[in-house]
Symmetry: C2
Subunit: 431 residues, 2 copies
Amino acid sequence: MAGPRLQALPGFRDFLPKDTAARNYLFETWRSVARRYGFVEYETPLLEDTALYLKKSGGELSSQLFRFEDQGGRDVTLRPEVTPSMARLAAQHQRDFPKPLKWFEIGQCFRYEKPQKGRGREFFQFNVDIVGEAGPQADAELIALAIDTMLAFGFQKGDFIVRVSDRQAWVDFATKRGVPEEGITDFLQIIDKLEREKPEVTEQKLAAIGLSSAEVNNFIANPENASASFETIRAELTARGLGEYLSLDLSIVRGLAYYTGVVFEVFDSKKSMRAVAGGGRYDTLVETISDGAVSMPATGFAMGDYVIRNLIEETAHTDLLMEAWMQRNAAACEVYLVLADDSKRPEALEILSELRNAGISCDLPFTAAKINKQFQSAEKCGARFALVIGSELPELKLKVLSSRIEEPCHVLGLADWLKDRLKEPDGPLLA
Amino acid sequence: MAGPRLQALPGFRDFLPKDTAARNYLFETWRSVARRYGFVEYETPLLEDTALYLKKSGGELSSQLFRFEDQGGRDVTLRPEVTPSMARLAAQHQRDFPKPLKWFEIGQCFRYEKPQKGRGREFFQFNVDIVGEAGPQADAELIALAIDTMLAFGFQKGDFIVRVSDRQAWVDFATKRGVPEEGITDFLQIIDKLEREKPEVTEQKLAAIGLSSAEVNNFIANPENASASFETIRAELTARGLGEYLSLDLSIVRGLAYYTGVVFEVFDSKKSMRAVAGGGRYDTLVETISDGAVSMPATGFAMGDYVIRNLIEETAHTDLLMEAWMQRNAAACEVYLVLADDSKRPEALEILSELRNAGISCDLPFTAAKINKQFQSAEKCGARFALVIGSELPELKLKVLSSRIEEPCHVLGLADWLKDRLKEPDGPLLA
């Protein structure tokens, strides 16, 4: 047998410590914005019954499944998205919670796509949903949360825009022009592809259902076609001081089949013109998933980790914020214990325990090493201070690694003293 | 087509908000202990090339795989454990990091087992590994970290014990008694099953390779058979003040095939007599995984989320700690805005934004509702305070929901005032 490859599968990522820190920065930012908006966190399984996706998600998704038969003969799928599972969970447990449910989730999804920059076969997603509230105020709450998430990452006015549309406006448009109910899904797919499809192909497809590009484009161009929902959303966001991030864009309908009303996209308006997040109202999904047992209106959006991380790194003012967070939160070690006298190892271990118990991140070499080598180790692992333990014990020396200046200290009360010292700048303390 | 089931797959868990909060408590405790020990976080893919597991993990694991062919014809498997992926990652990137690597990971694993209390088909694992250090001081560091993790959850002396053993001692035992090298793996499996197998079956199996139960039991009973590694580990832990949690137990060899030396288990010594965590030294795995390209000694352990969560909930003093953490960290909402005059909605939205921007978790009803209903919503979502916004604006009232006592407040400087107020107890402030 050939040895296993020394690589992750194509489209799958290894997260080295720096990547993991960046991932945790996304998670923590997502979580903190969702929590101040009063959302609570849930999670659903990564593997689900395939039936959950086949008829519900629609579009390309059903051809991109990691789908297989498990050892018990079940047709199962690695989740390509979280919304159907969330709808299942909400239908099942809604009696136990006050309505509306304000729920968020952070977890992985899997889609068998061609891997490329900004897209893999697995990705993390931030999912935010409101279940049990039909009013556009709930859509406004989600759009505000999406905007505040972008602001929390340090993005500014001009970096991004939220494009809002309403599928219902298009359903009305098509119905008024004689498109039969069973033709609406195809019609919405033509609108979804407007920006990517050749104009003559679009024209042809529209002609086949008795419509023209001119009609469609006129409809998009006229702001008076905004739905009443959009006007409420605009008013709610303006009152929150977030109106300037909003833009009506009727060309948006979003790909998934289950959307029923307001849809929106957070759009990078500067660098890559990519959608950073997107979502919308799906008022019938809970009923479909629960086979009619529970009917609840719902609205939600998702933000993936690929595009937002690229965008943060490409934008100087957001990258600086992330780097600063990683410096504060992902250093391997704050204080490295240098053993100048190897016979003091038991005492050094005792000090190590005491400092760690006080919450200080610290380290000690595992085996005897020359003092210079120990200082090198201290620097390599990114410690701020080296605590030198030698024959002068209980007296100690604290060496600031950036300036190499030493300060005396003492075993008595060391943990408290060091915790205070860590709050001060690297330079030596003035007496 | 029949509708999809309204259930997660057998052995898979839905995490409702309370379960997610408990999961996050485990994650945060694991992460904080690992970080104060100077470990950095990494992550590897959930789906890997099956070859990574087939020859390396050994034991029952290879019959418990969620294994399938992906759309590209690859033989892939949902990871049943993280160590082989970590070994791959370490071999691939070790040049970029100072040695030894001190790495930890928190993520999901999948095993097709019979679901039962305390065991599912997916579970979260806390993996902690030291790669590039052969000395038993590294094993001692891991054992100390495992003990400090238990202490961080509130477990006390008497609740648990760490049972330490050394596979090498058994290899020496067998070799000295003429067991050929190719018989060692089978011999270790007999030792691994000692506690579960019928004595006469064990006797028979041992006889087949020229050994007896008496010899084996005498070896286990004699503390002088502890390896030199164990003596170092004992000294290191005693110096750290953790010696009392340690116990030599040569009957432990652990199931996985790749262990080569010291092995240990954190053992619940009170309730269920279950292993809460386990691990050991695997000095040849990096070399095997990298097809001989990189050779590095390594040692590590893992703790799953199932057993530890059950144990925390079954133990009064640890459950109290978890509940208190969940109260502090998982409340949906601290302040609920009650709209006494619906015409003030724009002003209320402005206040909502201001408070959320200040980091206060708060909420406002989406649509007009009677004031009593709003107070009910405030209580249902677990808010501490209701902020009543009415015609007296910019004057406001803050109602303490537990005592129903009201305090006056004002829009000017509201966020700062409220942040201070949230730090105080629920009762009304004395002037």
